[in-house]
């Protein structure tokens, strides 16, 4: 009967009670928190290698783009940037881009590998965790990684004088929201992927053009008119615009709320879809 319920894709029945004394109580946040703890355990073993790329990556980008390229741009004139230095213009964009990159990295191969390679999901699925718990737990971990990397970039921005306003403290959560808006839908999709080639397309035709054409390294006003609406529709542009407005202290409430609403809608759609795709994939 249980198997039939699983086959239909229903939520599984409550696990049988073993007397209560031996079972640890379900922590706040439900079972998804346990899935999160599993990822934390993994991360404790491997954080050392990622700390270098998370810290030095943004440092290199800020140095090369903000200072190196910035010295050329500032010499040539910054009227099209709204009169701020190129460093101040590009730093919040690097913040948003790095949140997107972390999200794409954490939500693509690790999710796919958890089904196909190391089968972490398959193991978790044999426990009382439901697919939705597995999904939400992994998503919590991705959010933690995005928040960590974004915090590093924000600190560098302040240290280099790239932030022009105390509102920059809100650019950090804005970047986390941007990353989250990518992580949730991509994880929801990645769990269904059957060939790892698909990720090559995601990075080549998703991440790369987004990074280059979302008002990151140059203002959107320079794009040809027919391309601009397309750029305005991309989630990264909303993330970049929000982070930039906060970092430069030029945020207005309706504009900021619009960006937040767009990103939150995308994130919610991802959460909704993920609970379904994970169930389809893990209950066969």
């Amino acid at each position: 009967m249980v198997l039939a319920a699983l086959a239909r894709g229903d939520d599984p029945p409550e696990p049988p009670d073993h007397g209560g004394a031996t079972r640890p109580p379900v922590p706040p946040g439900g079972l998804s928190f346990r899935a999160f703890q599993c990822w934390l355990t993994v991360y404790r073993r491997i954080w050392r290698s990622s700390v270098w790329s998370s810290v030095l990556g943004p440092l290199f980008y800020l140095g090369a783009m903000g200072f190196g390229l910035g010295s050329l741009v500032d010499k040539h004139g910054t009227a099209s940037l709204g009169g701020v230095s190129y460093l101040a213009f590009v730093a919040p964009a690097i913040l948003a881009v790095s949140a997107m990159n972390t999200a794409m990295g954490e939500a693509s191969y690790p999710v796919f590998g958890s089904v196909k390679w190391n089968k972490i999901y398959i193991g978790a699925q044999a426990s009382p965790l439901r697919p939705a718990d597995i999904f939400r737990g992994h998503l919590m971990f991705m959010t933690m990684r995005i928040a960590m990397n974004a915090a590093v970039v924000t600190v560098f921005m302040c240290a280099f004088g790239a932030a022009r306003s105390p509102w920059v403290v809100l650019a950090w959560p804005a970047a986390v929201l941007t990353g989250f808006a990518f992580a949730a839908p991509i994880a929801a999709w990645a769990v269904m992927v059957t060939k790892e080639n698909s990720f090559a397309y995601l990075f080549r035709f998703g991440m790369m053009p987004l990074m280059l054409f979302s008002g990151t390294f140059f203002p959107l006003s320079q794009l040809p008119g027919w391309l601009r609406p397309l750029a305005y529709a991309t989630p990264l542009w909303h993330g970049v615009a929000l982070c930039r407005a906060l970092s430069l202290g030029r945020a207005d409430l309706p504009g900021a709320l619009g960006h937040v609403a767009y990103l939150a809608a995308l994130a919610s759609a991802g959460i909704w879809a993920g609970a379904r795709t994970y169930r389809r994939r893990l209950y066969v």
């Binding site: 030095l56 940037l81 090559a200 790369m208 390294f217 320079q222 040809p224």
Partner: protein, 252 residues
């Protein structure tokens, strides 16, 4: 000559993923477009190799070709080779045949170069199409791009044989990212303080960037031969070392 079998094997495998192969052309194209549409306007003119002011897109295009040659070769020789070494167990199977480790190394690098050549030709054609080339010396741009690929593929492959897990790839990114950003790819060397200039002048990608930039802009001198020799030596050393390492790892 049996290295050719390995190349044939990869070609057969990629027949099923030719779109991945072909779409690699788009990456430098996106970069060129972004520079042409956006950054070029912001930066204006920069001093070229002869000291003359040139449009930014003419300055940066050869740099991007060098970077894409390096990245393509590094990607092929690290991620793909690690997968074949650890998961697909391809080399275990190959070494059960008369093929030797040095031939495996040569075959892998040959494949990386074949791929690199196709991308370099495509990139150079795009540069010609966008009118970013100033000299007939550009005919040497493709061989030089392949030479850059050779150097980095050989070194990357040697490094891969020391790797233990996917986490180690963070170190690959850590090595290639500063090369990509700081090798005078996006702005002239004169932007740096003197100390940094000297350090950059000794890095491998910088040699490739200068070679390609001087060729496409037609500022060619005998000094370029030294830079080409630097890359060739790096590649040969990597080729030798990676063959030895594969033998050590698999022929126990």
């Amino acid at each position: 000559m049996s290295s050719g079998f390995l190349i044939e094997r990869h070609a057969r495998v990629y027949r099923h993923a030719w779109l991945v192969f072909a779409s690699g052309v788009f990456e430098p194209l996106f970069y060129l477009l972004s520079v042409g549409l956006g950054l070029g306007v912001l930066v204006g003119k920069v001093p070229g190799p002869s000291g003359q002011l040139i449009p930014y897109r003419e300055f940066v295009a050869p740099g991007l070709l060098a970077v894409s040659s390096m990245n393509g070769a590094m990607y092929d020789s690290t991620f793909n080779i690690f997968f074949r070494l650890k998961y697909a167990k391809l080399y275990d199977a190959i070494l059960a045949t008369p093929m030797r480790p040095a031939q495996v190394a040569l075959g892998e690098i040959g494949w990386a170069l074949l791929r690199g050549t196709i991308y370099a030709v495509a990139f150079t054609l795009v540069m010609l199409g966008l009118d970013l080339v100033r000299s007939w010396w550009v005919v040497l741009a493709v061989p030089v791009a392949v030479l850059i690929g050779f150097a980095f593929a050989a070194v990357g492959m040697t490094g891969t044989t020391y790797m233990k897990s996917w986490q180690d790839f963070d170190y690959v990114i850590l090595a290639s990212m500063p090369l990509f950003l700081f090798s005078a790819t996006f702005y002239p060397l004169s932007v740096y303080p003197r100390v940094v200039q000297v350090i950059v002048e000794f890095t491998p990608l910088y040699q490739g960037v200068v070679l390609l930039r001087d060729l496409t802009l037609g500022v060619v001198g005998p000094g370029l031969l030294w830079r080409a020799a630097y890359l060739a030596v790096l590649g040969l050393a990597g080729l030798w070392a990676s063959g030895r390492r594969i033998g050590k790892l698999l022929l126990v």
